[in-house]
């Protein structure tokens, strides 16, 4: 509605602006590179040096991304399944929540950096540890959101179900679970931003795998010890893309589940 009333010039401008900002930032990047004294220049690679690192390190980066991506997907997937089950369990009664929430908090508050060495001793470095670390990072916010969703069902709807003598099972799976979808997807979105970060951090501290195939975190250790700044920047960029893919995937899922009925996807023309 408001877009239509705007002048065409403004609309073109608002489409061009993000692109122009990007170009401006790359130019600024070059300017900073030029400004550095020759003995500092290695600290900041130019954009084209980063691009070259992409091609030089292509296969290595690709395999590392697969490794990290696998850990992120596995950790995230387990977090989705278990947080849903845990949310269902916690939604059963305030008593259940009171007895278990504090211990979930402990799990969340314990720094990963401390858990990692324990994990390495238990399951060894590599994919298993990375998956578990990713899981631990994603799990808590997803449990909190799912539980909140399951206990926030409109009271009138619960009355309606009781009026028609719905069983407890029907009340949970035909009412509470579908009603919790918006909360569930909020948790999923938080988890999706955390999962790739969790996998890279996990790989950084516990990814030193015996078979020699490390993920993106492991690569950063190697590149930084060799002062390969271009390759480090390229690795960061790949991690960023991985994060975008995760978030985009979850956004697509939540659109599929919610766009028909939920106000967060309401069209302005209705």
């Amino acid at each position: 509605m408001s877009a239509r009333t705007k002048a065409p010039l403004r609309r073109i401008l608002s489409n061009l602006l993000p692109f122009a900002t990007g170009v401006g930032m790359i130019l600024a990047w070059y300017a900073v590179c030029m400004g550095l004294s020759p003995d500092q220049r290695f600290l900041l690679p130019t954009p084209h040096e980063v691009l070259r690192a992409f091609f030089d390190k292509g296969p290595t980066l690709w395999l590392a991304t697969l490794q990290t991506g696998t850990g992120a997907i596995l950790g995230f997937g387990f977090a989705v399944l278990l947080s849903f089950a845990m949310g269902l369990f916690l939604s059963l009664s305030p008593l259940v929540r009171a007895s278990f929430y504090p211990y979930l908090m402990i799990l969340q508050m314990t720094p990963i950096i401390v858990i990692a060495p324990i994990l390495i001793l238990w399951v060894g470095p590599g994919l298993k540890s990375v998956t578990i670390i990713t899981f631990l990072i994603c799990f808590f916010p997803m449990v909190v959101n799912t539980t909140q969703g399951l206990i926030s069902t409109d009271h009138n709807l619960v009355d309606l179900f009781r009026m028609y003598r719905a069983t407890r099972f029907q009340e949970i799976f035909l009412l509470r679970v579908p009603a919790a979808q918006p909360y569930f997807f909020t948790g999923l979105r938080i988890g999706a931003t955390l999962a790739p970060i969790g996998a890279i951090v996990g790989d950084y501290i516990a990814g030193n795998s015996a078979n020699g195939q490390g993920g993106l975190g492991y690569l950063t250790i190697i590149y930084s010890s060799q002062f390969q700044m271009g390759a480090l920047f390229a690795t960061a960029a790949v991690g960023c893309v991985l994060g975008f893919i995760f978030v985009a995937g979850v956004m697509a899922l939540s659109w599929l589940a919610l766009h028909k009925w939920h106000d967060s996807f309401s069209r302005t023309d209705t």
Partner: protein, 259 residues
């Protein structure tokens, strides 16, 4: 369903209700409704109007006294009852057809019969062409119609309506009242209708129970002799307007009682 036409369908005997240790909500409420009665319940806020409906449908137990629905305890007579809430209480993630189906699905009625029942219920409320709409695409009046269709889908013999049109504008409310009576011509359920509007109570019902508050009790009952079918013209008649004035007077005196 072959019971004597004259025997009471719903009978309240000295019903008292309090929640936990709270104050007495209802005090010795007694009345009976015969098959086909349309009973309107009015009274000042806090007089327990809605509570009575919740007791009749067995959602809450009585504290003292007894309620019989078709000779049974409310919790055993459920398949005879349907409830229309103050709010449309639709499930926003289901389209109109599947919303109307909800009670049938909860009772595991067989899927092949469902479609026909739903189609019929929706055409009664004139929403047959909105089956695949989602609640947020409907107006307030349309949502309420879906809610009524959902109640009708279980073919109730007793319909409990808790201020169903309170949130709607007056035009829509009048239309829905006329539609409700038109549908009733066909099915002749016994109805209990809680409302704040005297005009609505007179238009719909053949009996009006006026309750007093603190604690809720039956203050008066008015017989509405206007013949059915009633239409928009009924509101122009002198009898109707006289009744509205009379009931308004009684309601005012009840509200003064409270103070």
């Amino acid at each position: 369903m072959t019971r004597d036409e004259q025997s009471p369908v719903v009978e309240l005997r000295d019903v008292g209700k309090r929640y936990g240790d709270g104050p007495l909500i209802l005090d010795r409420v007694s009345f009976t409704a015969a098959r086909g009665d349309f009973v309107a319940i009015i009274g000042p806020s806090g007089c327990g109007k809605s509570t009575i409906l919740k007791l009749i449908c067995g959602l809450n137990p009585v504290t003292s006294g007894s309620i019989m629905v078709d000779g049974l305890e409310p919790s055993k007579a459920l398949e005879k009852l349907a409830f229309v809430f103050q709010e449309p209480t639709l499930l926003p993630w289901l389209d109109v057809v599947r919303n109307v189906e909800v009670p049938l699905r909860l009772h595991h009625s067989d899927a092949s019969g469902r479609a026909e029942v739903v189609r019929r219920a929706l055409s009664l409320v004139r929403l047959a062409d909105r089956g695949d709409f989602y609640p947020r695409q409907l107006s307030g009046g349309q949502k309420m119609r879906v809610s009524i269709a959902r109640a009708l889908s279980v073919s109730p013999s007793i319909l409990l309506l808790d201020e169903p049109f309170g949130a709607l504008d007056e035009m829509t409310r009048d239309h829905l009242n006329e539609e409700l009576l038109a549908i009733r011509q066909e099915f002749a359920w016994t109805a209990f209708f809680v409302t704040h509007s005297v005009a609505e109570a007179v238009f719909l019902s053949n009996r009006i129970l006026v309750l007093a508050a603190n604690p809720g009790r039956v203050h008066d009952e008015i017989q509405v002799g206007l013949p059915y079918p009633r239409t928009a013209e009924t509101r122009q008649s002198q009898d109707y307007q006289r009744l509205v004035a009379q009931v308004s007077g009684i309601l005012r005196s009840v509200e003064n009682l409270k103070a």
